[in-house]
């Protein structure tokens, strides 16, 4: 006798309220970061803490861009400012990501279709992720110094690639698993070689998977603090390292610019992350979630 069910019942509004409250709590640290990025220096550590700055400023952002002086006083040589660190970091991360994706996809295809390495190899690849980076970093330093790779671009790129390989392989494997083999077999029957079948049939079908994985690995690379710290001797930095060195003897930690840098470094990640939400979950659980 009633009309169409209303779109939202009362219970739904209660949910909404609860979620709003929780969101406020959860987003509070982010709010604080953004606030700090906009605060002038005297407000950073003021007591009582400044909840909402009445004199917001963009100085922190500006100083990031031309940070030569403060940086120089701390670093030995090749002083940098934030944009230089960004560029270097971008170059290294991109190269490492591409390398990781390419080799990872190839391996994933092999594991998925040919079950290469049986049960051992895939788990072995995954286990690479279990080592605390430090544990591998120490011998790595020894290795690198022996072959003189310590300060090089390629040394960093190789290291970054290696550390994201397990994810690359496993995530792509789960995406490739979803493509039915029959499609490739059909391609082979039409005269394609194995590799062509792979390139022309499989790859286009896992394009989203590739994008998701690429993004994920790029995020991982972008945050690998330790590797850069150990291997680069302050010359070849990336953003995270740069953040840590934003230390000026006069002002203690430069929280404002640090926060500003955090805000900047995070925006592209957030944007892309939103776009691939669902696939992230699948990739993260290595396909345990059926679609």
């Amino acid at each position: 006798m009633n009309g169409n069910a209303k779109k939202y019942e009362r219970g739904d509004y209660i949910r909404l309220i609860v979620v709003i409250l929780i969101t406020i709590i959860m987003l509070f640290p982010i709010y604080w970061m953004v606030m700090t990025a906009l605060k002038p220096m005297d407000e950073w550590l003021k007591y009582p803490p400044v909840w909402f700055s009445l004199k917001p400023t963009l100085n922190n952002f500006k100083s990031l861009m031309g940070f030569a002086d403060a940086a120089r006083s701390v670093m030995k040589e090749g002083a940098t400012n934030a944009s230089w660190a960004f560029l270097k970091g971008f170059y290294i991360c991109t190269s490492a990501t591409i390398l990781s994706i390419v080799s990872g996809t190839l391996a994933a295809y092999s594991i998925s279709r040919y079950r290469i390495g049986g049960n051992f190899l895939p788990l072995f690849i995954l286990s690479a992720r279990m080592f605390p980076p430090i544990a591998v970093a120490l011998p790595l330093i020894v290795m690198y110094s022996t072959i003189n790779a310590v300060d090089t671009y390629w040394g960093l790129i190789v290291a970054y690639t290696g550390f994201t390989l397990p994810f690359s392989v496993w995530m792509m494997k789960s995406f490739i698993d979803e493509v039915p083999r029959e499609l490739e077999e059909a391609g082979i029957m039409e005269g394609m070689s194995n590799f062509q079948a792979f390139r022309k049939v499989t790859i286009p079908l896992v394009k989203t998977g590739i994008m998701v994985t690429t993004l994920f690995i790029f995020i991982l690379n972008w945050s690998e603090f330790i590797i850069a710290l150990t291997l680069s001797c302050m010359k070849l930095e990336t953003v995270p390292v740069f953040l840590a060195t934003l230390f000026s003897s006069t002002a203690g930690w430069l929280y404002g610019p640090q926060a500003a840098l955090g805000v900047l470094a995070v925006i592209p990640v957030i944007i892309f992350g939103y776009m691939i939400q669902e696939d992230l979950a699948r990739g993260f659980t290595f396909g345990a979630l059926k679609r």
Partner: protein, 324 residues
């Protein structure tokens, strides 16, 4: 005529050579070619360093000694024995396990709770879900800095507490031997609960709706359906999420380092921080390598004892569960 013969024989030779190479290429299956790049990386970045690490564990060597590594003196199990007696090391190891347990459990509960909350459609649900996912998108370093600021003596946390309890509250969280762990834990949980949330939510949304409707028609209330059907069907996903998170939390470094540097003293040292300090500040490479191997063995033991039976159960469940 002669040059033609020479040419022909040259061509034939080249052809045979090429076909040899081709035979070689063909002999190795396509599959193996595919994993060559990954194998190279693994070799270079895993096998070789691991071998070096093993060597290091059994010798006494530091980069400050000035001698090449293969000339170091062999000391047998001395490093390992010292480590067992080293309070700092064992405490760090225990502490790391404890943190892992607490953090992952908290992330799981929060993630599950939020997922259940967001499982039904409500106004602007998509927007709020995206908001709740934000912490995961930040770099660990940034998270660390954030919480550093939040938990300052003059920071907002103290301010809030002060408002609640009525008078000024100026507590130095990060220098407190008893409570310094809290900001670290909170930072980690805050950073990664969205992953659990996302996984649980996706899992809930992927549940076959007809089964849930069938349950409803058969008389099952919301709570009953949740515990009898939803959770059991989410178990494999939950388990994998737990395993993955445990692996990552165990290695926690950035947040600890920024917030307390392991301090005050060594009270908040996780195993990663210990390795960093001992290895890169004190330069005791051999000691740390031995430590790394102990950690690995302990983890493998725990994995085999605790998780293997669980994962085995998941496999059996999957057999019964999938219709394929």
């Amino acid at each position: 005529m002669n040059s033609a013969e020479v040419l022909t024989s040259k061509l034939v030779k080249a052809d045979t050579e090429r076909s040899l190479l081709r035979k070689l290429i063909d002999k190795i299956p396509f599959a193996v070619w595919l994993i060559v790049p990954v194998e190279c990386f693994l070799l270079f970045l895993l096998i070789v360093p691991s071998s070096i690490s093993i060597w290091l564990s059994f010798v006494d060597w530091q980069p400050t000694y000035g001698i090449p590594i293969y000339k170091a003196t062999f000391v047998g199990f001395e490093n390992f024995i010292d480590l067992f007696a080293d309070k700092r090391f064992t405490m760090a190891l225990l502490r790391t396990f404890l943190i892992t347990g607490v953090a992952v459990s908290a992330e799981l509960l929060i993630g599950l709770g939020l997922a259940v909350l967001c499982d039904k459609e409500f106004p602007m649900r998509k927007f709020f879900v995206l908001c709740l996912l934000m912490p995961m998108m930040l770099i660990p370093l940034v998270v660390g800095n954030n919480f550093f600021l939040l938990f300052q003596t003059t920071g907002p946390i103290n301010d809030i507490i002060g408002i609640i309890i009525g008078h000024d509250f100026r507590f130095n969280w990060l220098s407190s031997p008893d409570y310094a762990m809290l900001p670290i834990l909170l930072a980690e949980i805050w950073h990664w609960y969205p992953l659990m949330f996302l996984i649980m939510l996706s899992g809930l949304r992927a549940l076959p709706p007809n089964q849930l409707r069938a349950a409803e028609v058969l008389g099952s209330g919301r709570l009953q359906t949740f515990f009898r059907i939803k959770i059991p069907q989410l178990v494999p996903v939950i388990l994998i999420a737990i395993v993955i998170r445990c692996m990552e939390v165990f290695k926690m470094f950035d947040e600890v380092f920024i917030l307390t540097k392991g301090g005050p003293g060594n009270v908040t040292e996780t195993i990663s921080v210990w390795m960093y300090k001992t290895g890169l500040k004190d330069f005791r490479f051999s000691y740390v390598s031995a430590g790394a191997w102990i950690i690995l063995i302990v983890c493998v033991i725990i994995f085999t004892l605790l998780l293997k039976p669980l994962l085995y159960k998941v496999e059996k469940f999957e057999e019964g569960g999938s219709a394929s």
